[in-house]
Symmetry: C2
Subunit: 205 residues, 2 copies
């Protein structure tokens, strides 16, 4: 039984790094980069300032660590759904269902990323979100094109991709701003279906 295992076994104690990471994630998400102070982060983690600077170098360091961890998680999810079988329509439903669900369970982090990505740089260090965003975009576009080749869809692939992503973003945004009025997974499915209906190829009846 080494030292790490001993530390892990204690009461509810995780390592200091983990506590700092968790505290920073919550505060950055709830207050934004500028408004979340180092003082508050260390207070919530139950340590003092030098501990944070020892482990993460500076405020920017722990900020990057938090964002990177969240994005890695997101990419792993998308990657997992990417290689499923089935019709293009089914796979798009699965993909967006997964994304909707993931965002739904991490609204705070989504809110933070959203404001950093789309909003003015609020004194926050630049961070590369594009990799993850492009990943999702390209995955959707790929499935749409496969659907075209298979004769499922017709129309402008880029326009269809944007319409699909827009439907997803709109439902997430609604949840961010008016949780009471937000749609659930079924409601999101109906919004998605409006778009999918506009994509499908007409068949002689």
């Amino acid at each position: 039984m080494n030292r790490t295992a001993v530390a892990r076994a204690r009461t509810d104690e995780s390592t200091v790094r983990e506590k700092l990471h968790a505290a920073a994630a919550q505060l950055f998400a709830r207050k934004g980069y500028a408004a979340a102070s180092v003082q508050e982060i260390v207070a919530r983690a139950g340590v003092t300032k030098p501990v944070l600077y020892y482990h993460y170098g500076n405020k920017e360091g722990i900020y990057r660590a938090v964002l990177a961890a969240a994005l890695d998680d997101f990419e792993a999810r998308v990657g997992a759904v990417e290689m499923l079988a089935g019709s293009a329509r089914t796979r798009l439903h699965r993909l967006f269902g997964e994304v909707f669900d993931l965002f739904h369970r991490h609204l705070d982090v989504v809110r933070l990323m959203h404001s950093i990505y789309y909003g003015p740089p609020q004194g926050a260090p630049a961070f590369d979100f594009d990799r993850a965003v492009f990943r999702l975009h390209d995955t959707v576009l790929k499935i749409v094109r496969q659907g075209q080749k298979a004769g499922e869809f017709q129309g402008d692939a880029q326009a269809m991709t944007l319409a699909l992503l827009g439907a997803c973003n709109e439902c997430i945004d609604l949840e961010l701003v008016h949780p009471k009025m937000a749609v659930d997974a079924a409601g999101f499915g109906r919004v998605l279906d409006v778009v999918l209906r506009g994509m499908r190829k007409k068949v002689r009846q």
Copy 2:
């Protein structure tokens, strides 16, 4: 010729209030509320701090003035398009065309509002964006329902409204983040058409 007219006639001089307003609008939009300092605002306006506090009370005062002016402008536009004639499809195209165009010409302000509305409260005073957002949402929903009654559309009115708004937001967001890849008005029209196609009622052929 009164005193105001004389002041207006001078070189490029507008009133001090107007210069402060313009400087604040730019800086809030480019840096966010917290990161835009009073010092920078007054420097850009070519005056000193007490002037700002004399005219607007405090930082929050000029911030509210900037946002209120922008929202009033937006609501006036939506109101103007609201009472047009034509098919539901045509009116939706006109409405979103107007909104897309307006946002396009004020990207900085849109960016600011976006981050305040969807993002974490970055130390910024609370501000009521809901009035304007609901206004657009309700206008779209109303036209959609009229389209249903007229036999133009079929389906879930709420889902269709969200799909339309999502298409619009997606194109604006794209412009905010990747101007190079952004779609123009025609491209936006195509995205809108994907959704509208999914809304329309099938006719026997």
